[in-house]
């Protein structure tokens, strides 16, 4: 129960973001001429301010508000900080693209901020109700953002598919949640956890678990609930695909963490079995189908699916090391995805650069951009000095530690298959003739952020210890 107003300082970042989103909304209406600029600057201010509020009083131990509906623990703090940082980068990449498309209106930033808020609510959820509300706030913002480019048929189609499938998945999840509520008599995650641990063989509980898993798998995009990912990434404007591809993966991890690990930890053996199927299928289908793609956004979509498979492997391990590895994977993958889509957004400023062929000879047109893309592709493929290698390594180690060697073997085998299409991009950039000679300019802002992003991928690969230790510490 809320005792005093000062307790609300725990949720200061959320309150600040909600208020700022409304400010952006109103300021955008009255800003007149240079419309996008005001909204953009205010949105970045909102994110940075939220960041500052978050870090100013990071909590050492879990604290709850509203009878446990809002949970603030170190895990939440780290995930929220990552979401905020990534979104700052995403907005910076997106700006130039939006300007070139006449989409540079406040709505992108407003919906983006509300999406971030949804992710933060989700990350901090202490009961099933707020978990679902956060998820919906995020999803609704994403549907609208995908459809934002109204004149594009592809975007409308993608938004429609995303919306219909997403609503279906939400319904499934809600049905599972209602069954859980029926069985346990409570929406609070800790009560559900106790009931799940006490009565793990209850068939209705397992049924509820199945529905919940469908919901989680859809939101993450694991096979066989992956159909929306390639279509949405392909159809949405690059700036939106960038947004959808980066931070929401962290939210997806938080969803799995809160719901499966904290809420249904007692059923770990059961859900791990289900996730094994999803993970293996995701890694296999994602990597194999990506090879056949000629569109880079679609290719990155299938690549996402395969990475989600890896993330699930960490959860399957079911140990503290496994969860920490999964978290590390989620954070670093979101970083790589933001960078890769950032390059796509920068390339697509003047005209859509969606096809792999558009990246031919990028080295000649902008060597630094090509080098950043090289790092990102290497990292996604899991080539040693980059963080992608280390992330895969920790996940595999956690899986082997619990004795599931065959899973690790399958994962490695398909990663090697997957390396092909990442390296193909590198080959196109460095060894093919450019289709046109005109230099590609990234601009100061996006260029700086991209450099930081790419170098972070490299730097974290060289010195992963601190972040990994942090991940292990907060999931414990």
């Amino acid at each position: 129960m809320l005792s005093t107003l000062s307790d609300l300082t725990l949720m200061a970042p959320e309150l600040w973001l909600a208020a700022m989103a409304c400010v952006v909304l109103v300021a955008d209406v009255y800003a007149g001429g240079g419309r996008g600029t005001v909204a953009y600057l205010l949105a970045q201010l909102a994110l940075l301010g939220g960041m500052w509020l978050l870090l100013a009083d990071a909590v050492p131990a879990p604290e709850a508000l509203f009878g446990g509906a809002f949970l603030r623990d170190p895990l939440a703090d780290v995930l929220k900080a990552a979401v905020l940082v990534l979104t700052v980068a995403v907005f910076a990449y997106a700006r130039g693209y939006l300007q070139g498309r006449g989409l540079d209106r406040g709505e992108y930033y407003v919906l983006g901020l509300f999406g971030v808020l949804g992710m933060m609510v989700l990350i901090s959820a202490g009961n099933l109700l707020t978990l679902y509300l956060g998820l919906e706030l995020l999803a609704l913002s994403l549907y609208a953002m995908v459809a934002l480019h109204r004149d594009s048929l592809e975007a409308s189609e993608a938004a429609m598919k995303y919306f219909v499938l997403g609503a279906l998945a939400s319904g499934m999840m809600l049905y599972g949640i209602s069954l859980l509520y029926g069985v346990t008599g409570s929406l609070a995650l800790d009560v559900v956890a106790r009931a799940a641990a006490a009565d793990a063989s209850d068939p209705v509980m397992l049924l509820a678990l199945a529905f919940v898993i469908v919901g989680v798998a859809f939101k993450l995009g694991a096979v066989p609930f992956h159909m929306w990912i390639p279509d949405v990434y392909h159809g949405a404007p690059a700036a939106v695909a960038l947004y959808v591809g980066a931070a929401p993966k962290i939210a997806g991890f938080a969803l799995a963490m809160r719901l499966l690990v904290e809420g249904l930890g007692g059923l770990q053996a059961e859900w791990a079995d289900m996730l094994v199927v999803l993970a293996v299928l995701s890694i296999a289908i994602g990597n194999v189908v990506a090879i056949a793609q000629t569109n880079i956004k679609r290719m990155l979509g299938y690549s996402t699916i395969s990475h989600i498979g890896f993330l699930l492997l960490g959860l399957i391990a079911g140990t503290r090391d496994g969860y920490g590895a999964a978290m590390f994977y989620a954070l670093t993958y979101a970083l790589m995805a933001a960078g890769a889509f950032g390059v796509v957004a920068i390339m697509s400023r003047r005209s859509e650069a969606e096809l792999l062929d558009d990246y031919r000879g990028l080295n000649a047109r902008n060597p630094w951009l090509a080098f950043m893309m090289l790092i990102l592709m290497f990292s996604m493929a899991g080539v040693p000095p980059t963080v992608g290698f280390y992330a895969k390594l920790t996940v595999l180690k956690a899986v082997i530690d619990v004795g599931a060697l065959w899973l690790a073997v399958v994962a490695v085998a398909f990663s090697i298959v997957g390396a092909f299409y990442y390296l193909r991009v590198v080959k196109l950039m460095y060894f093919d003739e450019p289709p046109e000679e005109a230099a590609v300019r990234a601009g100061l802002q996006a260029g700086t952020v991209l450099s930081a992003n790419g170098l972070a991928v490299l730097g974290l690969g060289l010195l992963p210890g601190a972040l990994l230790a942090l991940c292990l510490q907060v999931v414990g």
Binding site: L2, A18, E107, L111, V121, L129, L137, L140, A147, R150
Partner: protein
């Protein structure tokens, strides 16, 4: 056992509700379907009233029957729905639909069955006194315990509004519209220009036309 008046009402409303719900999916005309749905909402509101949940009952009527379904009806009436095409797959998908329905019924029954929600497990709520206000009680929990969820739900609605407007509002440059504020602000000098000019004489040939035009026309 003789039915009490309340039980009689319950079964009467329940029968109407089930009938209306069946009507929603079997009616041949979508407008009739929507009207059946309205009836279903209304009857469920009556059932809630029987359970002393007057706030929820009235809000259901107010929000769903009075506003949401009106808009629904509005849209359905405007649509030109091809009934034959809608009904085409009905028999083909009926078996699958029945299986899914049976599954859902089984699931609901196993969760809500007597083993979990029977009279033994959950005590009957005590009847409230005359002074008990359902509205107040709901308000109190909603604005204290569930304030957070309530506010997040409000934000979701805000996003829905923003999305709906962002996706549909188009400023067409070629539409003509009135701005009453500008109309009111208009002053005489914006519309009429008084020109001072010397009087002119009619040119000589025109003067021969009797009762002809005056020279002011050129001014």
């Amino acid at each position: 056992m003789a039915l009490t008046f309340q039980q009689f009402l319950f079964y009467a409303f329940a029968a109407v509700l089930v009938g209306a719900a069946l009507g929603v999916i079997t009616a041949r005309n979508p407008v009739h379907s929507v009207l059946y749905l309205v009836l279903a909402f209304f009857t469920s509101a009556a059932l809630w009233l029987l359970m002393e949940a007057e706030f929820l009952a009235l809000t259901l009527v107010l929000v769903y029957v009075g506003a949401v379904m009106v808009l629904f009806l509005f849209v359905v009436m405007m649509l030109d729905i091809d009934l034959a095409a809608l009904r085409a797959g009905f028999t083909r998908y009926l078996p699958l639909g029945l299986v899914v329905a049976a599954l859902i019924v089984w699931e609901m029954a196993s969760v809500l069955g007597p083993a979990r929600f029977g009279p033994g497990r959950v005590a009957a709520p005590a009847p409230h006194g005359a002074g008990y206000s359902n509205t107040k009680a709901l308000g109190e929990t909603l604005y204290t315990q569930h304030l957070y969820a309530f506010e997040v739900a409000a934000l979701i609605l805000l996003v829905a509004i923003v999305a709906a407007i962002a996706l549909t509002l188009r400023r067409r440059p070629d539409t003509r519209r009135q701005d009453p504020a500008r109309q009111v602000r208009v002053r005489r000098r914006d519309r009429v220009r008084l020109v001072r000019m010397a009087p002119e004489r009619r040119p000589a040939p025109a003067a021969s036309e009797p009762g002809g035009r005056t020279g002011t026309e050129e001014a």
